[in-house]
Assembly symmetry: C2
Homo-oligomer: 324 residues x 2
């Protein structure tokens, strides 16, 4: 069995081969650029981990795991254009370093490259692999559409928000696991269980991101605290606050949202105080715990020796601890 | 055997079912919009025609033929953003009617929809169908990249231009034919021959488009004559003219290209006169004929009764006649 560090090194080596590059080089240069910025490689890692639950010959799933990472980066390329984002992990986004056309077309090439990678599997898995990948890809697209639709709405419910982040974030994590288990010849109910596990894990992870933006420790979180508050991002925190606030508090919150000129620190403090008053911290905490528990319950039932699942349990614990 | 009109009607009926639409509707509305604007449905038609060379049960290839049409429209959605085009077939482009983000994301959804459609085939064809589709999709992307790269170059050779339009236009026509023949269980050398046939046909068709922009009859061509000249589009005509012109004529031509303010009619007349002087009309004519002949030679060798190929021959004749 491989450790997470070993799997990460294997993914890095495979990416470094750059086998997916085709002519003209300029089409693939932005893909190289976004791929070389590091990132956690969470998705291919989950694919390899899921495969490794059942089998040792992980080289069989490696190319398609890389495909999932390339797919993820394709969504980042296009999302950054749509959000007009300046920076990603501290570096200029592709459409800022080059231009929007480059980000669109190289993104398209990345998506096709992902499809080329994903078909690296035995014939007997091909239809399901492609089917699943199509479903995941479409769900990610749908999630992004809901996210954009929600931007102009002020009545997004918790349920709608959970559905949106499920599609936009969880499904690809879930699909990465399912793909690995499928190619490892896991039984259908097990690869479906891993998909479900990944879905809840993704929800916990995303809610925690929302939570840490408000209550995280700058040094540990590695991002500036309050970025979502400054940008009026419709996070779980804001949606719950708008839902639970009495008319007066709601008005205060909207006052900050609509303010065009403000001191960043002042706004962050004021909104955080409102969250404190409404108990959003505890509510978010509870929601994260709920989804972690749901993941854990599914993981318990996956029928492989417990020692093979240890990295999965540790991942859950890490998310649990990260929130404190 | 089906007539072209019957096949067109079948394609229309299938598109009208709108079975590919998913939630949220707003994600698919722009896809519906661009699909409902008509168009020649040339690609799905070629798929059905190729299938119908060998088999009658064309419903078996219909869903994937629709996928190819949806793929084509995805490329139009993104190309129109990249070219900042105002109109397509007389209607506002998606990014002008909505905005760029809508065109990017709905385009992405259309691409995934195409992949979902293309897998409608028996298992024994699946890997090749997906392989081929990936190759075609990537080639179209590469063609668009070359096209964008050429915009800022003034030394594009005829060979480079032919390669670019081959990738950008021919390959999808060729792939549409190959896909139909593959699913009809045609032997490998025959579906490859149809691919080659489609490649040359596509070149003839694109060169003719370039030709008709200069020498076409407005009433018959249905576009304004000289649009490419006004826009300095690097067509076959312009590339050949720049290649063949003596220094003086070349300077005159560049003068027109670089002029910021000009009378449209005057520029069209002047550039056309240059083309006349250089014999570009006859050169383009000869090139179109060459590619039509290459198509015809391949078609002759396709081993099905001649009466089944009649629509293919008529298509070649129609392109041949269209240029007069």
């Amino acid at each position: 069995m491989y450790s997470i560090d070993e799997l990460r090194a294997i993914i890095k080596d495979e990416l470094d081969k750059k086998e997916y590059i085709q002519e003209p080089h300029s089409l693939f240069e932005p893909i190289l650029y976004i791929l070389e910025d590091g990132g956690k490689r969470l998705r291919p890692l989950l694919t390899l981990m899921a495969y490794n639950l059942y089998r040792e010959d992980i080289e069989k799933v490696l190319k398609s795991a890389i495909g999932i990472e390339i797919f993820h980066n394709y969504t980042l390329l296009h999302d950054d254009v749509m959000d007009d984002a300046e920076l990603r992990r501290g570096r200029l986004t592709v459409h800022k370093k080059w231009n929007s056309n480059v980000a669109i077309l190289s993104g398209d090439a990345a998506a096709i490259t992902a499809y080329q990678c994903i078909e690296h599997c035995e014939d007997k898995y091909l239809r399901r692999a492609i089917d699943f990948f199509n479903q995941v890809a479409m769900d990610v697209c749908r999630g992004q559409q809901y996210d954009m639709l929600f931007e102009t709405r002020d009545d997004v419910s918790e349920k709608e928000y959970i559905e949106m982040i499920y599609l936009k974030t969880s499904v690809l994590l879930a699909g990465s696991l399912r793909h690995g288990a499928l190619l490892a010849d896991a039984p259908e109910h097990e690869y479906n269980a891993l998909y479900e596990f990944g879905g809840y894990l993704g929800l916990a992870f995303q809610l925690q991101d929302d939570y840490l933006d408000v209550y995280g420790d700058v040094a540990e979180f590695g991002k500036n605290i309050g970025g979502d508050i400054v940008a009026n991002k419709k996070t779980y925190m804001l949606i719950k606050a708008l839902e639970l606030a009495d008319p007066e508090t709601r008005e205060e919150l909207w006052g900050w949202i609509e303010k065009k000129e403000f001191d960043h620190e002042e706004k962050i403090k004021a909104v955080t105080r409102i969250y404190d008053r409404l108990g959003i911290k505890e509510i978010a905490f509870a929601a994260i715990d709920k989804y972690l528990k749901m993941s854990r319950d599914i993981l318990d039932k996956i029928d492989v020796p417990k020692e093979r699942k240890i990295d999965f349990y540790e991942t859950l614990d890490a998310i649990g601890n990260r929130k404190k």
